[in-house]
């Protein structure tokens, strides 16, 4: 543990202090970063020190790793955007209209491309788009200096990024790596509690909620892992192991859910003796994920668990051989088949829990242990149509505002155009673009009086850099504080954008009150245009977007039905979890979440069963046609939510299941046949329970 890291200290403090302390540390770092950037820019006599300060405010985030990651992609985007602008200028400098169309097209392409990426990578693409606008329009009228303008822009962004990076990493840092360690530990504890709930009777409703929490944790773990990579090389050494942990956490919790549904099914069907036969293994399973009867709180303490689970697996194998004998426990053919199939699922759950525990224990070692670990890429699932619509909208908004700017010969048209383009690009892929744009507008409106006060009374009185810093301090601190308020982050960004751009700090300072007011009005108009366009132009209708998200989620089953079988399970699972999170984000306010969550997790089960079925059929190498009929019927019934088809399908599955039971009874003494039929039976059982539950769940969208 790094002694300089205050996040560990804060984590141990009482709750009221924890949030406020974190907020004020953020304020301190942001303000210091802005002042440092201003100082450097003034010292080196750069053209617009204000823009360096804006850069710091844009990449201001609560954790050092996030700041560095966003900086990295901001720099990359700016650089690529600058190169593209110079190329466009070189080709089209004599054709104004063509140039504008080219810039609009580029912004559209980048905005659409951003939807294929996540987090800060997407942000880098957006920046790459509107940097052409930022550099291209001023440089167009002054083509001989285009190169200098582009270099200026890259320089000023670099200064902002370096200042923010240094301040956030060195001065009272809150590190992503620490948060990550905390979250990894909590995930394992949650997993053990989930295991308790899943292997005990009842509790299906809370399980879906826990699973949704897991999906969110998985997404957080993944983004924290990405951010911590930028913090220091010790995180880079651990990253493969962390990725493997995330993957096995996802797997193990899904397997537990499948097991839970089967156990519930057995209970409702009245398979008492089967449950009694399984109970010793289940209770032992609950016991061996603990060390000295308590859940281990850290990777070091978790070391013995993997061995204990391995012992349980060996024990299970012996016991399973006994289950196949017809005397002990005394069961009929159906009961024995249910016991063997559920036992197989239980074995899988134990096996995955063992992998999870092993990877978790390995995280403790400073290095090594990578061999044999799988890197789990998180899937990016996006709606291609929505992405395209977002791109076209950004391009159209730019064209329209440019036409207005040219038609009215508005002197400040540039600011308005720029902000309209930025707003449309930035909010294209957030769940609620209108709300985001409205928040940003609020930030601009709050920033306006602050700007007027500062410009009229504070700035003229500041002689020298030290006095300027003192004068700016309260205004900057307020903006940073606004960013820390939950739900007001965008307002804070808007405030900073309005305030810092409006001040237009430069040396020597040029006072032009009228110009400042005109610019402020243009900025407000620009963000207003963006807000209106996001609300009015498609896809403004949230219902439509939600329906598309749900359809995409249901269609993800085709991946399980037809995808290449190698490593299909992790790919399918991470896709479904991603899509469920997206669909949940579009849920209308005040709606209960449980039904929606349940659909997402039923998709996990149904897809899992399909993959299981395909694998068992592929292993046997026969009746491939019958198998594909079942798969096609399932995919069709689920994607079209056809209640009658579902009912028929469930009836067919029951027939298939009783055939398998008879087959199993006939071949109970043949090892290979028994294993193959048990696997098929497990697939049929999970598919049937999944579909039965799916037919009962109230449809979400």
């Amino acid at each position: 543990m790094n002694a300089a890291s205050v996040s560990a200290l804060i984590a141990r403090s009482p709750p009221w202090l924890r949030d406020e302390a974190a907020a004020w540390l953020f304020v301190t770092r942001t303000v210091l970063g802005i002042l440092l950037a201003l100082g450097i820019a003034f010292r080196f006599d750069l053209s617009s020190p204000g823009s360096a300060a804006v850069t710091v405010s844009i990449i201001a985030l609560p954790q050092a790793g996030m700041v560095l990651e966003k900086s990295f992609y901001r720099l990359l985007g700016t650089f690529l955007g600058a190169v593209v602008t110079l190329l466009l200028l070189a080709g089209l400098v004599q054709h104004r209209d063509l140039f504008i169309v080219a810039v609009a097209a580029w912004i559209g392409i980048c905005t659409a491309a951003a939807a294929r990426f996540r987090g800060f990578q997407a942000y880098g693409w957006l920046l790459c788009g509107y940097t052409t606008c930022l550099i291209g329009f001023p440089a167009f009228g002054d083509a001989t200096h285009a190169f200098a303008i582009a270099v200026d822009r890259v320089t000023i962004v670099s200064v902002g990024i370096l200042s923010a990076g240094v301040v956030n990493a060195v001065i009272l840092p809150t590190r992503s790596a620490d948060t990550l360690v905390h979250l990894v530990r909590r995930s394992f504890i949650d997993f053990v509690s989930f295991l308790d709930a899943a292997t005990a009777p009842g509790g299906a409703a809370t399980l879906a909620t826990t699973q949704h929490q897991f999906s969110r944790d998985l997404a957080n773990l993944e983004s924290l892992r990405g951010a911590s990579l930028f913090e220091d090389p010790t995180s880079r050494i651990r990253t493969t192991r962390l990725s493997a942990f995330i993957g096995s956490f996802m797997h193990a919790s899904s397997r537990l859910q499948v097991l839970h549904r089967q156990l519930d099914d057995l209970r409702s069907e009245g398979h008492g003796p089967v449950l009694t036969a399984l109970e010793p293994t289940l209770s032992k399973f609950r016991a061996v994920v603990r060390v000295n009867q308590s859940i281990p709180g850290s990777a070091r303490e978790a070391a013995p668990i993997a061995c204990q689970l391995q012992e349980l697996l060996n024990e299970w194998d012996e016991r399973q051989a006994g289950w196949r004998s017809t005397i002990d426990p005394p069961l009929d053919a159906r009961g024995r088949a249910a016991l063997l199939a559920t036992g197989l699922l239980l074995r899988e759950a134990v096996e995955h829990a063992r992998v999870l525990a092993a990877v978790y224990a390995q995280l403790h070692a400073p290095r090594g242990g990578e061999s044999g670990l799988q890197y789990h890429p998180r899937s990016v699932a996006s709606d291609a149509l929505l992405a395209a619509v977002g791109g076209v909208r950004a391009a159209v908004v730019l064209l329209v505002t440019c036409a207005f700017w040219i038609g009215t010969a508005w002197p400040e048209g540039f600011s308005a155009t720029l902000l309209a383009a930025v707003g449309c690009a930035l909010f294209a892929s957030v769940p609620n673009p209108t709300l985001a744009a409205r928040q940003m507008c609020i930030g601009f409106l709050v920033g306006l009086p602050a700007l007027l006060v500062c410009y009229t009374w504070v700035l003229p009185a500041a002689n020298g850099f030290a006095m300027l810093c003192l004068g700016l301090l309260p205004f900057l601190a307020f903006g940073a504080w606004l960013m820390t308020r939950p739900g007001q982050t965008l307002s804070g960004s808007g405030y900073f954008l309005m305030f810092l751009t409006g001040l237009d700090l430069s040396s020597p300072m040029k006072y032009d009150f009228i110009n400042m007011c005109n610019n402020a009005v243009a900025q407000l108009a620009g963000i207003g245009i963006a807000a209106i366009c996001l609300g009015v132009l498609a896809p403004g209708d949230p219902d439509w977007r939600r329906q598309r998200a749900w359809r995409l989620l249901l269609r993800s089953l085709t991946l399980a039905a037809h995808g290449n079988l190698t490593r299909l399970q992790p790919r399918f699972e991470s896709r479904v979890r991603e899509l469920t999170l997206q669909a949940m984000a579009l849920r209308p306010v005040g709606r209960t979440a449980q039904a929606d969550e349940a659909v997402g997790f039923l998709m996990l089960d149904i897809g899992d069963a399909l993959i299981r079925w395909r694998t068992s059929v592929a292993a046997q190498g026969d009746d491939a046609r019958a198998a594909s009929t079942l798969i096609d019927a399932t995919t069709a019934a689920v994607t079209h939510r056809d209640a009658r088809a579902l009912k028929e399908l469930i009836r067919d599955l029951e027939d298939l299941q009783s055939n398998a039971v008879m087959e199993l009874a006939a071949g109970i003494h043949d090892d290979t046949l028994c294993a193959a039929v048990t696997a098929r039976l497990a697939a049929l059982r999970t598919l049937r329970t999944g579909l039965t539950d799916f037919a009962e769940v109230p449809y979400a969208a």
């Binding site: 002694a3 300089a4 060195v170 840092p173 913090e231 220091d232 090389p233």
Partner: protein
């Protein structure tokens, strides 16, 4: 070493060249130190790394400018 380097007509300050040259070297050294476990003995890792970079960059800059 001249103060500016001519890259096919574009004049780049040689300090920027020094920065770009030092960056990968620092990156390799940084990784090696982490693998060797040196950072477990450092109180403020990021401050240490920043200073290491400044020392490397400053040395190369001074060497070129002297």
């Amino acid at each position: 070493m001249p103060r500016e380097v001519d890259f096919s007509g574009v004049y780049v300050p040689s300090l920027l060249v020094a920065f770009v040259v030092v960056l990968p070297v620092f990156w390799l050294l940084d990784g090696a130190l982490a693998r060797a476990g040196v950072y477990r003995w450092v109180w403020h890792i990021d401050l240490f790394r920043l200073c290491l970079f400044v020392v490397m960059f400053g040395s190369l800059g001074l060497y070129w400018y002297r």
